[in-house]
C-alpha cells in the first residue's frame, strides 16, 4: 500500500500540468469568446475537467508531502492555494453552466472568477516550483547586477574572524555551523531533510541520517560528512551535489580539523590549539592591490576619450572601477604645463607614469592636486627633487620611482614625511647607497638604491 501511495505521490510533478493546461485553455477561450458567447458549453466542460485534474493533483501532492521529507510549513501555502484552485474551477463550472441551479453564483461577474483563477493557478505553480527547485531557482540566472538591484542577491559570505578575538571564537558555533548553513542547509533542514539528515544544529549532526552517524570524532575518513566532501566531484556520493555550490578548500580543511580534534561543540579555536594559518581565509580581506581604498565619482566616458585624444594612455584600473591609470608612454613631449590636461580626472587618477617626459621640478607643485595618487613614476626626467616635500600632502602615495634622474641626496630627508610610502626607487640618481643608514626612515619604507651587480666568478668562463 505504501508503495502505491509513494508512487502516486511521485506522479505529482506530472499530474500538476493537467489542471494548468485545462484552466489556461479555458481562460483563453473565454477571452476569445468574450463577445459572441457561443462557446460557453465547451468552456464549462473544460473547467470541469480542470477541477477533476486539480483534485487529482491535490491528492497526489498530499501523498508526496507525506511520503517525502517535507514539513507542513514548507508546503502549506502551495497546498491551500492548490485546493482553492480546484474549488474555484468547480465554482466557475457552475457559474457558466447553462442549466445551473446555483442562483447566487449568477450574481457574481464572470470576469472576477477568471482573474482569480489565473492568479491562483500561477501562484500554485510558482510555489510548487519553489519547493522542488528552491525558492531562488527562478531568478538565479539573472545577472548579479540585476539581482542586487532587485534586492535578492544572496551571494555567499564566508564567516569572518576578527584579528583580536579569533582565539576566543567558538569553532563550531562561529565557523563550522555558518559553513554548513551556507553550503548544506538548503537540503538538510527541518523542512527538507534529504537522506533524513538535518544539519541545522548540533542535535541534527549527532543524530545523523538514514545511513547512520555522519561524524565519528577524531576519525575523519570514517566520518561521512567529511569523506563525501573529498570524493571526486563526479562520484555519486559526493556532497554537495555536483550542480550545487561547493565548499572551498579552506572550509573543507577547517571541517577536517574540527573532526580531528574531536568535533567539540563548545570549545574555542584557542582551546583546540588550532593554528592561525588554517583560518587565513576567514579573516577580512585586506586591500592587497597597490591602489587606495577610496570611492570617487566616475568620470564621463567622453572625458576619457578627450584625454586619450591628447596622446595619453588612460584607462580605468579595472572594468568596474572609477580609479584611473594614466601614462605618457606615447607622449614623450609632456611638460609641466600639460598637467592641466589631466585636471578633469584629478580625483580619479591613482597611477601616473610621467617617465621619459620633459617634466621638471615644477611638476611637484602641480601633482599635489591629485589627492589619490598612489603610484608615481618620474624616471628618466630632469628633476632634481627641489620642492619634492610638497608631495607629502598625497596621503595615498605608495610607490615613487625617481630612477635615472638628477635627484639630489639633500632632498631625500623630505621623503621621511611621506607616511604611506612603501617603495622608493633611486637607481641611477645622485643618491648613493649609504654604508650605514644615515637618514632615519619609517620602518615600512623600502628604498631600492639599485646598482646591483653580479661579479664575475670562475665558473662563468668554464665550459664543461
Amino acid at each position: 500500500m505504501e508503495v502505491i501511495q509513494q508512487l502516486i505521490g511521485r506522479l505529482h510533478p506530472v499530474v500538476v500540468h493537467l489542471p494548468i493546461g485545462f484552466i489556461i485553455t479555458a481562460l483563453l477561450l473565454q477571452w476569445i469568446d468574450r463577445k459572441e458567447n457561443q462557446l460557453e458549453v465547451v468552456i464549462a466542460k473544460i473547467f470541469l475537467w480542470g477541477f477533476i485534474a486539480a483534485t487529482i493533483a491535490c491528492i497526489s501532492g498530499y501523498l508526496l508531502y507525506i511520503g517525502e521529507g517535507y514539513s507542513f510549513d514548507t508546503v502549506k501555502f502551495h497546498l491551500w492555494v492548490g485546493v482553492a484552485t480546484a474549488l474555484f474551477s468547480v465554482l466557475m463550472y457552475f457559474r457558466i453552466k447553462e442549466t445551473s441551479q446555483v442562483e447566487f453564483l449568477k450574481r457574481i461577474p464572470k470576469i472576477l472568477f477568471s482573474f482569480l483563477l489565473l492568479f491562483l493557478i500561477s501562484i500554485t505553480g510558482h510555489l510548487g516550483g519553489s519547493i522542488t527547485h528552491g525558492s531562488d531557482y527562478l531568478l538565479d540566472p539573472l545577472p548579479l547586477s540585476i539581482k542586487t538591484a532587485l534586492g535578492i542577491d544572496k551571494s555567499y559570505k564566508m564567516p569572518l574572524l576578527e584579528e583580536a578575538t579569533w582565539e576566543e571564537t567558538h569553532l563550531y558555533n562561529d565557523v563550522i555551523q555558518p559553513v554548513l548553513n551556507n553550503k548544506c542547509l538548503s537540503c538538510h533542514n527541518p523542512k527538507k531533510s534529504k537522506g533524513d539528515l538535518q544539519l541545522h544544529n548540533a542535535e541534527g549532526l549527532i543524530k545523523g541520517g538514514e545511513n547512520g552517524d555522519v561524524i565519528i570524532p577524531k576519525d575523519i575518513l570514517n566520518s561521512p560528512i567529511y569523506a563525501r566532501l573529498i570524493l571526486p566531484l563526479d562520484h555519486e556520493d559526493h556532497m554537495p551535489p555536483k550542480e550545487k555550490t561547493q565548499l572551498s578548500k579552506e572550509e573543507i580543511a577547517v571541517i577536517k580539523a574540527w573532526i580531528e580534534t574531536g568535533s567539540s561543540f563548545d570549545k574555542t579555536i584557542g582551546e583546540l590549539e588550532l593554528q592561525k594559518p588554517l583560518f587565513a581565509a576567514f579573516f577580512p580581506k585586506v586591500n592587497t592591490t597597490n591602489y587606495p581604498d577610496v570611492t570617487v565619482d566616475a568620470i564621463p566616458a567622453d572625458t576619457i576619450i578627450a584625454i586619450r585624444k591628447q596622446g595619453f594612455h588612460i584607462e580605468p584600473i579595472s572594468e568596474t572601477s572609477n580609479l584611473i591609470r594614466v601614462s605618457c608612454i606615447n607622449k614623450p613631449t609632456f611638460s609641466d604645463v600639460d598637467i592641466d590636461l589631466l585636471k578633469s580626472a584629478k580625483q580619479q587618477i591613482v597611477y601616473l607614469d610621467l617617465g621619459n617626459t620633459e617634466v621638471s621640478d615644477a611638476i611637484f607643485e602641480h601633482l599635489t592636486k591629485f589627492p589619490h595618487l598612489a603610484t608615481l613614476n618620474l624616471s628618466h626626467t630632469v628633476i632634481t627633487g627641489k620642492n619634492i616635500e610638497k608631495l607629502a600632502s598625497l596621503e595615498h602615495l605608495r610607490s615613487l620611482n625617481l630612477t635615472h634622474t638628477q635627484f639630489k641626496e639633500e632632498y631625500l630627508p623630505a621623503i621621511t614625511s611621506f607616511k604611506q610610502l612603501k617603495n622608493l626607487f633611486l637607481f641611477n640618481t645622485q643618491v648613493k647607497q649609504p654604508k650605514s643608514q644615515s637618514v632615519e626612515f619609517h620602518n615600512d619604507l623600502n628604498i631600492d638604491y639599485g646598482n646591483y651587480q653580479l661579479p664575475q666568478i670562475a665558473t662563468d668562463t668554464i665550459t664543461y
Partner: protein, 502 residues
Amino acid sequence: MNSLDRLIKEQINREIQAKTRRHFIKECVAGMGGLALGSMFMGCNPFLGNSKNGKIALTERDINPLASMPPPFPAKVKSVIYLHMAGAPSQLEMFDYKPTLHKLDGQATPQSLLEGKKFAFIRGTPKLLGPQAEFKQYGESGNWVSNFLPHFSKVVDEVAFLKAVNTDQFNHGPAQLFMHTGGPRLGRPSIGSWVTYGLGSENQNLPGFVVLTSGGKTPDAGKSVWGSGFLPSVYQGVQCRSKGDPVLYIEDPKGISRNLKKSTIDAINKINKAEFNEYADPEILARINQYEMAYRMQTAVPEVMNINDEPEYIREMYGVEPGKESFANNCLLARKLVEDGVRFVQLFDWGWDSHGTGHETSIDLGLRNKCTEIDRPMSALLLDLKQRGLLEETLVVWGGEFGRTPMLENREGQKMAYLGRDHHGDAFTMWMAGGGIKKGASWGLTDEIGFSALEGQVSVHDVHATILHLLGFDHEQFTYEFQGRPFRLTDVEGQVIHEILS
C-alpha cells in the same frame, strides 16, 4: 581559371571550412525562431534604428585592435616575461634536491614505479641516477639551488617555486603547445595572444606580444606556440631577432626614401578611407591603423631592439654578446621591451633536452653549460627589473614543457655513453617572480626521488589561471566565442595557485 578566380574560390572554401555542425544547428534554430518573429513583427526591422544615416557606432577596438583595455579586475602586473627552456630542463639538477636519490644511484628502479607509465625512450628496467649537481640552501627563504646556477642562488629570495607542476604530455611538441596554448593539439591561441587580446598594448608604436628565440633552433612545436589560434591574427606573437634586422623586412627597400614611404602609405590610406565611407566596414579602419602602426614601428622597433645603447655595466651584468643570437641578449631586450610598454615578451631557449645521447645533451656536462648560459642573464633580468621599479608590475615566469626522470636513460634498453634523463611530466619545477608573487615561497613537494608529487601538485591549467589572475582576469570568465561556443585558455579546468601569491 585566372588567379583572381582562384583567390575568390579559396576564400569561399575557407568560409565553408569555418562552419561546423554547431553553426548548422544554431542557425536552424535561430532561423525558425526568426521566421516566426518576423511574421509577428510584420516586417518592422528593430535594428534599423542603430545606424543613423548609415553611420555605425564604432568602438575603439574596431578601429585599432591593439587599443588598450582595462582588465576586468585590478591587476597586480601589467606585463609578463615568460622564459621557456625548450627541451625540458632537469629539475633534479637545478632546483629539486633529492639526497635519497643520491644514495640509490645505480640501483634498479622498483617495478611498482614503472607500472602503467610510458616513457619516450626508456625501455625495460632503468637504473636510478643520483643528482649530478651539488645543492645548497640560499637566502632567507632557504630554498635549494644547485651549483649549476651560482648567480641565480643570490636572487632566490625574489622568486616563488612551484615544485610539483604536472603535465600529461611527454613529447616536446604537444607538451609545448599545452604549456603555451592550454591544449596539446594545434589551433588554440597562445597565452600571449590571449593577454594582448584582453588588454591590448600600451605602446602604440610597438607590437603587444613579442617573441625572442635563442639556442639555435625554434621550439619543436613550431610557431604555433606563439600563434593566435582562433583569435584574430593581429594578436599573434611578433618574432624579433637579436641578430640582423630585428623584424624581417623592417628597413625601407633600397631606393625608397622615408618620405616616399610616408606618401605611399598616405595615398593607400586615403583610398581606404574612401572605401570605408562607402561600405562602413570597420575592418578597413583596422587596416588603415595597421599601415600607420607598421610605419611607426619601422623607427620604434630598431630603437628598442638596439642593446648597444645600454651602458657597459648593464651589458656586463647580463653578459650580452652584441651581434649574436643569445639568451643574454634576449633577457636584456625583454627588459627594454617591458620598459617600453610591451605587454607580453616570450623567450624560448633551445637545447635543454638532456637525454645523454652526446656531450651536449649530457646531464652532467651539456646541461651545466646550458645552465651557465642562462644563469647570469636571468638573474640580471630580475635585478635589473627590480632596480627600475619594474619588477613590481611585471611577472616573470620560468619553466620548460615538462621535467626529467630520476632514472638514467637507457635508450632502447642500451647503456649509453653519457648520462641522461628521459622526459617526465609527473612533477617538475617552475618559478615565478614579480608583482603579486610571494617572495621566497615554495609550493609543492615531490617524493624522495622526485618521481611524483606528494602534495601541492599543480597543473598547467593552474599555472595559466595564476598568470591570468595576476593580470586581472578571472580565467573562467575570459572567453572567446568560436565555432559556436565560448573558449577559455584554461579549457574547463584550472585553479589559481594562491599559495605563491602575496
